[in-house]
Amino acid sequence: MKSVKLDVHKAISAVANTSQYPNLPDMTPQDITKLIVRTSMKDRAAFDLLYRQTSAKLFGVCLRVLNDRGDAEEALQEVFVKIWTKADRFAVSDLSPISWLVAIARNHAIDRIRARRKPAADIDAALDVADPAPGPEAMVVAGDESERIHHCLDELEKDRAAAVRGAYLKGESYAELAERHGVPLNTMRTWLRRSLMKLRECLER
């Protein structure tokens, strides 16, 4: 049985102000936290608002990984079903609320594409949007941690850093990365693991 560390602050701040939700566009991470905790209490109004606030970001995640609108729509449905049923787990995570939601969407989309990988080369080319510069919303996600990971990625060789970024954003498998870089799978695995070890060392410095 897993021991659960309840984040009392998260819970209290969420319950303290329950009667009114602020108007839509300017939600802070605290507001999103409240919505997640209210959702864990099966508050449907909070769930609806959480959807309105975050579905565009999470759809962006699903679409980027899955490269197929129909698939991404289906995945987004499943992601929000997960959010409704597992919202209580947010309390035991150290992630910011938006990052926690993104992690659910990313992992779900990656599981989905691993289970059924379509040949999507053409769609890939058509849908491959250039990585936009992080917008103001990125700052909400990021904070100090952001500078650290980017600094640590910069310490890697350029192509290895690119492989880490690409793997993260598109959810590419070792097999796909190996094929794209024209190296054996085990070589790719060794590469990325060394990169991850270097990242860890840098992050803990």
Binding site: V102, R148, V164, L169, L196, L203
Partner: protein, 240 residues
């Protein structure tokens, strides 16, 4: 480099495995193993969470893309349309919708009877989605309509179930298809039933199952061509 030595019991192997899981590069079977360990091993779950925190700033590069309007109703159907709902609140919602759907069931039975009878009277008509039904409602609003789209007569029939418009206000009907902005179908006449004629452009979109929504607007309808007041009821069209 073999899996056995890398994923050994020492912290380094587990931590790397957690990192690979978060990065997303593992094959399906190894992701399943990782996922099971997250559920059963607190220490491993913490390693995964730590890597999620480390790598999450990269997620800023994901663009925001509005999903189609049909996704949220589909989620609600998955979560709240079954008897598996457990919370008191969800149950209350379910009961009210049960009462509502019971009324609809009667209509469905009548429609089914017609469908069964038609082949005996006439040859089958090649219009599989000739009749679409939507129940229009929204959380926090008592406004409810039952909408039936009759493709053969190019009209939407509305049955007013509950909820009154404020004085000096009108209800306006909108069609929302995919990511496109809502298209006005006109102000809903006062009364227990109303019929709204559907333009040829809107007919095909409705036949494909668009979302219908009702907003509260100034008397005479939205002055801008887009909804200006709150959406008081919405639902998607389904064939019966």
């Amino acid at each position: 480099m073999t899996l056995a030595e890398d994923n050994g019991p020492e912290r380094g192997g587990d931590d790397l495995f957690a990192a690979e899981y978060v990065l997303g590069v593992l094959p399906a079977d190894e992701r399943q193993i990782a996922s099971r360990r997250i559920d059963s091993e607190t220490d491993f779950a913490r390693l995964v969470d730590g890597w999620e925190v480390h790598l999450s700033p990269m997620a800023a590069a994901y663009p925001e893309i509005e999903p189609p309007a049909s996704v949220k109703p589909a989620i609600d159907r998955r979560l709240f349309a079954s008897t598996a709902a457990t919370s008191a609140e969800a149950r209350a919602g379910l009961w009210s919708s049960l009462a509502f759907w019971r009324g609809l069931a009667a209509a469905a039975v009548a429609a089914l009877a017609i469908y069964i009878a038609i082949p005996y009277v006439n040859p089958p008509v090649a219009q599989p989605q000739a009749r679409l039904v939507a129940s229009l409602a929204a959380d926090g609003s008592d406004v409810k309509y039952l909408a039936v789209y009759d493709a053969a007569h190019h009209e939407v029939g509305l049955s007013h179930v509950s909820g009154e418009r404020a004085s000096g206000k009108d209800f306006e009907l909108w069609m929302i298809e995919g990511k496109n902005p809502p298209v006005s179908m006109g102000v809903i006449p006062v009364g227990s039933t109303a019929h709204i004629v559907v333009s040829p452009a809107a007919q095909q979109k409705l036949a494909q199952g668009a979302v219908l929504a009702v907003s509260l607007e100034p008397a005479g309808g939205s002055p801008t061509g887009q909804p200006t007041g709150p959406v008081v009821a919405a639902g998607d069209l389904k064939s019966i």
